[in-house]
Structure formats: structure tokens, C-alpha cells
Point group: C2
Amino acid sequence: MTEEISQKLHPAEAADRLLRLTDNEAAEDVRELELDFAAETLESMDPWQASGIFKELSQQLQGKILKRMDPDDSVDLLQELTSESRRGILERLDSLTRKRLESLLEYPPDTAGGTMSPEVMSLPGDMTVGEAVGQLRKDERKLENINYVYVTDQQGNLSGVLPLRNFAFKEPELRLDEVMKEDVKTIPPELDREKVARLFDKYDFLALPVVGEKGKLLGVITVDDVMDVLRQEDTEDMLEMVGISGAREESVWTPWKVSVKHRLPWLVINLGTALLAAIVVSVFENTIAKYAVLAVFMPVIAGQGGNSGSQTVTLLIRGIALGEITDGQSSKALVKEATLGLLHGLSIGIIVGLIAFFWNGSAKIALIVGVSMVLSMIVAGISGVLIPVGLKKVGLDPALSANIWMTTITDVAGFFFLLGLASWLLM
Amino acid sequence: MTEEISQKLHPAEAADRLLRLTDNEAAEDVRELELDFAAETLESMDPWQASGIFKELSQQLQGKILKRMDPDDSVDLLQELTSESRRGILERLDSLTRKRLESLLEYPPDTAGGTMSPEVMSLPGDMTVGEAVGQLRKDERKLENINYVYVTDQQGNLSGVLPLRNFAFKEPELRLDEVMKEDVKTIPPELDREKVARLFDKYDFLALPVVGEKGKLLGVITVDDVMDVLRQEDTEDMLEMVGISGAREESVWTPWKVSVKHRLPWLVINLGTALLAAIVVSVFENTIAKYAVLAVFMPVIAGQGGNSGSQTVTLLIRGIALGEITDGQSSKALVKEATLGLLHGLSIGIIVGLIAFFWNGSAKIALIVGVSMVLSMIVAGISGVLIPVGLKKVGLDPALSANIWMTTITDVAGFFFLLGLASWLLM
């Protein structure tokens, strides 16, 4: 065991240090840790990071650590393994732990059910405040992570909530169902976890109960889980926008062999789309041969279209993620962004037209460059709205390689306007 | 008052509805609301949104609402106003509220001091648990938002912390300094608010006390503030990357007049940089006139360089924001991304070379296209690391228009390799 990683550290710090090592080295250190501390350390990592180290441990140690981890974290970790090794590990667990994990594994990882912890503190409504305090006191260590007590009826259905901080201020002889808050905000297990996160952000919750169809209390989602979700979803959006798939597993420190798998496929797809732009240019090869100055302005037109399109695409993707845009409103965004494209296009088009005139001395070339700039930027504004909205409509992530599609459209349109106008007016 | 906005709503929902109206219409509705509800509704908005509506209210109403808002939110709102109207409003407040707000206004808004609430529940260490419960009970409404009681000595210096949820489990006759946790994690008021947010994310805090140089308890930052910070910082990074300044105030629904101000300046800067690429192309105008097929491959080379560069830039910016990259490690990232550039360049370069060969029939053109693709993508990898790291080193936000700079470099380099090689080998 390296000197650096010891029980004296906070598990989050131990996790940081382990992540600087190879999975193999880290596993060696994990073997030396106390089981509880090892479990907490793995909990502090993102699941794909923890699973890399976890795979290197013996099945016996895997079982011991899994049992000690929060069930929501152990399920996230199990989701990262092959179904075969997952089955192997589950089979070796005691039946209670196994059943609990198996029931959680049924929820897709991106839903409230896949994010919740089933370890929820629930007490019957006919218990008194004093009895509840007595019962809770028995396991004070557990209380560290609990802020709410949920009150359930005999069928396990949720009937109310009581913040733990309020217990000190209630008369001990009152029944829980007399002091609880009955109007509880709940979430269904199938709700998308990003929507769950936005709910927390909007209403400033610390925890929300997950409740099944018939009102059965299934688990709880806490604000610390939500912060992880927000970070992961934002990272995913940023990386997907530029064509990095498997975004949840990609960081600066991802081994290059893995990075190639995440990035090269999109570059190949982009090559296909870039060839579309190339075909457009090739149609006008004769025009270029005669007026090579057009090639000089090709990167200017394409670059400006691409950049203003990126602005629109990025705003739309963020707006969709934050729930600012609902389905009916995309036409309003379309009008705004097309208008901005026109305004930006006119401003930049006039400047570029003037530059082209002084560069080349031809009023016709200046006009061609200026007009194609205006048209390109309108197309950029429109496609900047339609690409993310369209991706969402067909059920894909709006961020998915949005910039790559957008650049293709602005390149194709820009070259078509520039070279098409030139062929028409000059040839 | 429109039917839709009423006290029956959650303030966050009332805020949502108001934000769909113009500032003027929204202000009209706000005038009809109860003062406490109006204050909570404005608190639920981002400061720049709230300030737009706030400006439309009478100075008298402004004062009444400000007094009822959480001091950290009212300060954020005041920061958005001109210093003149800020002074006008402050002068009309009672001296206690004014002094409190003025002391908070001294902290820059992006720091822990500018984010904290000064309304912190602090009690003396020699008070007993029972006395504390009695005192806290007096203001049960306030308790809604409080999770920790901070224990201070006679000088107001922080000596320990006690979670409110633990009060029910402590003997009433014990003194607070006997049951408190002495080892409290604190943050200094000057700490960057993004770093504060990452601390919460890493260690799963619900609240952290802000403590001055001599140990004086200044305020508290809670997890709900932190979620706002995370959302705003991520939005800012995403938008700045594509050259949208004033990112905190830009959304899909920003009026177009404001949007032009946020976006056009970067498009003009980009025009300047795009002209660099144009100059490179113009140097080789004769070569293009003779081999117009080169213009066909210009967008392919530039597009691939730009896209792979965007991948690297985005990863680096996110890595820096999440604290994954510290100063000494950027050379490691540089080696990795340059290597990936080489690998991606070879893969794509071979494909593009073959396409060029079948397109044009010339082995020389194929070689030129393939080699310049490899070189461009290596440059993309290197500049994708150096741009964000460089921006950070000179004290700018690493995200600041990073993609615009990167595209310029990859365009210039790509055209230089393609056309330079062609001139050398073909002319």
C-alpha cells in the first residue's frame, strides 16, 4: 500500500488519489483498506471509474465491498460490468442483498428508479414522536445521511413526511401522523434523472421520495446524488456536442485507446458529411479555376456561418436541457435566430463585401461575397434551431454531435451560395 | 393581475410564469402580490432576470421587497443595477438592512462572500441543548431553511457545528460545546464560487460556514445556492466556448437587441481571424487557379481539423472546470492529444488520400491531401490543449471563445499544409 492512501483521508480524497493510478495499482491499494472505507471510497468515484478498479479485485472481495456500499452506488457500479460478471458477483451475495440489488437493477440507470437509494427511513404513522426518537437513536451512525423520516401506512404506502430537524420541536407524545406534512412532492421511478435534477434545482429540495403507481414508497433521492447527475449530464452535453460519444467515461485522463473509440467514429461520420461540401465545391471547379479569389473567401464564409451556427446550437441545447423550451415554442426561437442571422449577416456581409472590393477591385465579387455571407448566416440561424429540436423530436439527445451536423450544413450552404452566385454572375 | 399568477402557486412556478411576460407586464403582476410572496418569487429567478422586473417597480416597493428577500439574493439583484439606482434604493432602506447589504456588497459576486447568506443561526457554546431548542422554537418559520446551528465564542468566532437533526437525540442538559462537532470544514470569503461548488459536489455537504481571517463567522453557503452556481457556471462555459459573452444573461428568450450585443462582437473578432486563413489561401492563388481540385479538399481538411480540435478543447475546458487538471499536468494532456491527433490523422488521412486518388487520379494530389490531413490534426490536438491552458494562465476564463481561436489555427494550418505542399510538389 502506498503511503499516501490511508484511512485518515476523507474517502473523496482517497478516491482522487486512487484515480491517478492505473486500475491495477489502485486495486492493490484498495485490497489493503478496511472494507467500510474501501466501500466509501468507491462510492465517491463516478461508477465507470469505480468499476475499472473493481474489476481487478477477487470475486470474494467484490462481494464484501458491494454489501457495504450504498445500494444505489453498488447498482450503478454493477451496471458498468458485463452481464456475465454481474451475474457471477450477484450469485455469491447473500440472498437479502442480492434480491435488493436485483430489484434496483430493473430500473434503467438514467431514471429516478436507477438513481434512488432504497435505504429510506420510514416509520408507521401511529408511532409517537418519542418512540420514533428512541428508535432512531439506536442507529445514530446511519442518521448522518438522513434528513427526512417518511411516514407510511400498513401497506407501505407513503402518507407523509417529517424533517428530522423538526423532531426536537415536537411534543414527544404526539403521533407521527399528527405532526407530519401530508402534502409531499413525490417522483415516479420512471422519471428521467435529468428532469429529477431540474426539479431539485428549481424547488431547492434536499431529498424527494420515489413512489410507485399505487403509492408505495420505493426509495429516496438526495441532493448529493442530484449534484452528481447535474455534473454528469452537463459534461455529457458538452462532449456530445462536439462528437465525443461514451461521454460519461471520457476525460482528459482517459487512456488513448479508449479515447480513440469515443472520438474517431464521429470524425469518420464527419468525413462523410465534409465530402458533401467537397462535392458542392467540385461542381464549381471551373469557376474556381478562373476566379481563384473565390477560394480565398471560402474559409471566411464557412467560418462565419459555422461560428454563428454554433452560437445558436449551443443556446438551444442548453435551453432544452434547462427546460426553458417546450415543444410549442421552438418556432418562436426559429424566428428569433433567423432574424439574428439576417442582422449578423448584414453587419458581417457589408464588412466582408468591402474587404473583398478593396482586395480584388471587383464590385461583382464584393457583391457575391457579401450576399452569400448574409444568406449563410440566415441558414446558420435556422439550422442551429432545427438540428437540436429535430434530434429531440426523433428521441435522440439534442446535443448529439449537433455541431458536426451544423457545420456540414453551413459549409454546404455557404459554398453553394458563394460559388453558385459566382457561376451565375461571372461565367 | 392575470389569473395565472397567485399566492397558491409555489414561488418557483410563479417565477416561471412571470418570466414568460415582458418585464413591464411582470412588474404589473408583482405589484398585486403579497410582499413576502413577491420577495420569494424574485428570489427564485436568476438575478439578471429578477432585476429586469425589479427595475420597473417604484422605489418604495423596491425597498419593501428587498427587505423581505434573503440578503444574499437581494445583494445579487442589487449587483445587476447601475451603481446610481443601487445607491438610491439603499438610501431609502432602514439603517440596519442597509448596513447589512452594504457589507455584503463589498464581496465580489463570484466569491464565497458574494454567494453566502449572512443569516446564519449561531448560538453561544455555554447554552444548553434544552435552552437552544427553546430559543429555536420561537421562530419555527425560519427553521424551514436551516439545517445546522453554528456554535460561536464570545468574539463571534466559530468553535463548532451541530446539525439541527441531532438535537432530538441529545440530552437537554448538555451544553452545546459538549455535543458540537469541533472539526468544522470552513471556507474563506474570497474563495471562487465555482471552487466552492466543486467542494460541495465532492464532499456532499449541505451547508458550509464562511469564516473570515480571524475565525469570525461571516455567513453560510447552502446546497441550493450551490446548485444555482453549478448551473450558471456550466451555462457560462458552454456559451463562452462558442463566443457568446454576457453568458449569464443570454438564453433562448433574450430579446434580440440584447443578443446582438452578446454575439456580434465575437463574430467580428472571428472575421478578423478568418481573414488570416484567407490571406494564407491568397498566397497560393496561382496554385489553386492551376489545380482547382485543391479547393475541393480545403473544406475537408479544415473541417476535420476543426472538429477534432473542438473535441480536445471541450475536454480540456471541462477538465479544468472540474479540477481534473492542475498546472503541472497539462504537458501530459498535450502528449496524449498530440498522439491522438496523429492516430486520428493517419486514419482519416489514409481514407481521404484514397478518396482523392479515385476522385482525381493523381497520386501526388492524394499524397498531398493525406499528409496535410495528418499534420492538421496534430496541430488541432496541440492547439486544443494550449488554447484553454493558455487562456487560464493569463487569467482569462479557459472557455472564452476557445473554439473560435482553435478554428482559426486549424484553418490557417490546414490551408498552409495543403496549399504549401501542393505548391512545392506540383508547381
